[in-house]
């Protein structure tokens, strides 16, 4: 097990290193520099370049950047001269994390419950409704979902606040909008997995031993059926976090996604890079943790991993 965990950590570190390097050198390939205001004088541009260290040789800048990253320093934003990327991240990350966790909780809990109910009612009307919801949910992009929720629940019916992030009622629409796709896919996978497990011999054995239907469902069926859901958790965390990009700009939540989209639209390259590195690293380690968890839960993965 230790060997497996070490191997996963190793791969993740290499991934992060490659990510940082690719991001750094891609940044130099970008059309236009950070100071391309035509009104700026040549001297001012040189001074600014020197101030940010852009006049040094590329490999030196690269080493400095790596060194700074090791100290947790993401560099300066060239758009907002007074603020570092760290500042912006520290202000924005709590909102994104909060939204992401809420969306995940919503998606996983509702997805599991819907999947289970659907599977237990296989073939009748309840099942049909849940299957339709799941199929619909997996074919709507999250920003369309968010916009539709906004329109119906706030504009048309006035039930929930339309934007901002100031209390529980404010968090409902963005979390649902963000989590809906994941909820739908979790429910589909759970349903299929429940239906597969119910045909297994051990379920038959448990029933024939005289264990009640409820206990069989709860202890034998659901427990085994939940495994495939854990597999998709890693990619899911990534999907939810990238989904925050659009949901945050849609609901005017001051999280990282909103800054990310704005920095892309304003061509604030250093901010894009800092955020990309942060996002990327965060997600790489989320994936790693999910993989390790999966290894702990399912011994077969451990052996295959060796």
């Amino acid at each position: 097990m230790t060997k497996y965990i070490l191997k996963r950590i190793g791969i993740s570190l290499v991934t992060v290193f490659v990510l940082v390097s690719v991001v750094f050198f891609l940044a130099r390939l970008m059309p236009g520099g950070p100071f391309n205001d035509p009104k700026m004088s040549e001297a001012a541009r040189e001074n600014l370049s020197a101030y940010y260290g852009f006049d040094k040789p590329l490999w030196e800048q690269y080493l400095t950047y790596l060194g700074n990253l090791l100290h947790g320093n993401f560099g300066f934003s060239t758009k907002y001269p007074s603020r570092t990327v760290n500042d912006l991240l520290a202000g924005a990350f709590p909102y994104s994390a909060d939204l992401g966790i809420r969306a995940l909780c919503f998606a996983i809990s509702f997805g599991l419950v819907f999947g289970i109910i659907s599977a237990l009612n296989r073939g009748n009307k309840i099942d049909l409704i849940f299957v339709i919801v799941a199929v619909f949910g997996t074919s709507v992009p999250d920003f369309i979902m968010g916009a539709l929720l906004q329109y119906f629940f706030s504009v048309k019916w006035g039930l929930l606040p339309i934007a901002e992030y100031k209390g529980f009622a404010y968090t409902i629409l963005p979390s649902v909008g963000l989590g809906f796709y994941t909820m739908a896919s979790v429910s589909r996978i759970m349903r299929a997995s429940m239906l597969e497990v119910v045909q297994q011999d051990y379920i038959k054995t448990a029933r024939s031993k005289g264990i009640s239907r409820f206990r069989v469902t709860w202890k034998h069926q659901i427990r085994n059926a939940i495994m495939p859901v854990i597999t998709i958790l890693g990619p899911t965390v990534a999907a939810v976090l990238t989904g925050t990009f659009v949901i945050e700009s849609l609901f005017a939540i001051p999280g990282m996604g909103k800054y990310y989209v704005e920095s892309v639209q304003n061509s604030d390259y250093s901010l894009i890079l800092g955020m990309t590195v942060f996002y990327g690293t965060f997600l790489v380690f989320c994936n790693m943790i999910v993989d390790i968890l999966y290894g702990i839960v399912d011994p077969r993965v451990r052996i295959a991993g060796k």
Binding site: L19, L26, T138, S139, I144, A147, E196, Y260, Q265
Partner: protein, 314 residues
């Protein structure tokens, strides 16, 4: 037992006629034998959801090609007297906030979105298949290097790579496709590699090797056709992803930029005008959803058609 036998109607020799042996008829196969593809086609036609999805996609494809040509409006032609209007006889799907005809824009958008979906998913499949085929067949160092590269690409969230590539290359259909191919080939490659690993020890591959076929021919002519069904299924499932990604990238301002239309662009304009003219969101949303839905159903249908053992699994 013996008593019962006597109760049966007596069978006499006269009731039987010798008709002789028709060897030709005995050897012939009564029904025409179907090839793998014919059988798969039959199963698709028998699957109502998949069949209707296929029809719907063909209709969309044809409309995308012909609808903009046949309309009296241009896709960027503005009409100041009909801005943000709903459905009418003049403008079948209404107009957007600049008075552009949505019917035309939707199908111009379909050209872009469907092209990106098809090309990105298609290129992913081709590159992934060829590389995966070689990795699986040769193994060894080449395989290890490619697998480590895949580990790294797979670890980085795909949208982030897409965003970076788009920032560097600038927006447009080409860079969108390049960005998607850079991150997208890994899945197919892994999958093909696994399948080739499984198949390369089988007798027909050995036979081909004994006959002296070059490696490339063995992979392309002997092994790949065996996993063609699965690859096509993968392709159908990958197109919706590409369409989603295009919509997402256009939404955050990196994909296609107006006045060019794509479904992502239209949806983005729709979310902005939601309070004034909700149809501007409904229309592209409807087409994105139905297309993705149809592709997913078709993908399920194809999977069942190519491998009936998988029927009913997700």
């Amino acid at each position: 037992m013996s008593e019962k036998k006597t109760e049966q109607a007596p069978l006499t020799r006269e009731q039987f006629v010798i008709i002789g042996k028709n060897l030709e008829k005995m050897e012939s196969i009564s029904r025409p034998s179907l090839t793998f593809w014919q059988e798969a086609w039959r199963r698709i036609c028998g699957n109502r959801a998949a069949f209707f999805s296929l029809i719907l996609l063909i209709v969309y494809g044809l409309l995308a090609i012909f609808a903009p040509m046949l309309s009296q409006y241009g896709f960027d032609q503005q009409d100041a007297y009909a801005m943000s209007k709903g459905f009418s006889a003049d403008h079948w799907l209404g107009t957007d906030s600049l008075g552009r005809d949505l019917w035309v824009r939707v199908w111009m958008g379909a050209r872009v979105s469907l092209t990106i979906g098809l090309l990105a998913a298609g290129l992913n499949t081709v590159i992934g298949t060829v590389l995966g085929g070689f990795c699986g067949y040769y193994g060894g160092k080449f395989d290890m290097i490619v697998m480590r590269i895949i580990d790294v690409i797979y670890g980085i969230p795909s949208l982030i790579v897409c965003i970076l590539v788009m920032v560097v290359l600038g927006s447009g259909v080409q860079s969108l496709i390049i960005a998607m191919v850079i991150v997208g080939w890994t899945g197919t490659c892994r999958f093909t590699r696994g399948e080739v690993y499984r198949l390369k020890e089988q007798e027909f591959v050995l036979a081909a090797r004994v006959m002296g076929e070059p490696v490339f021919t063995i992979i392309m002519r002997e092994i790949i056709p065996n996993i063609m069904g699965l690859l096509i299924t993968n392709l159908a499932m990958a197109i919706p992803n590409a369409i989603f990604q295009e919509a997402f990238l256009s939404y955050i301002g990196l994909g296609i930029s107006p006045p060019e239309a794509s479904w992502g662009v239209l949806a983005k304009e729709g979310t902005r005008m939601l309070r004034v003219a909700p149809h501007m969101l409904y229309v592209p949303a409807f087409f994105i959803c139905t297309t993705v839905l149809a592709l997913n159903q078709l993908g399920n249908g194809l999977r069942d058609a190519f491998d009936p053992r998988l029927r009913g699994t997700e």
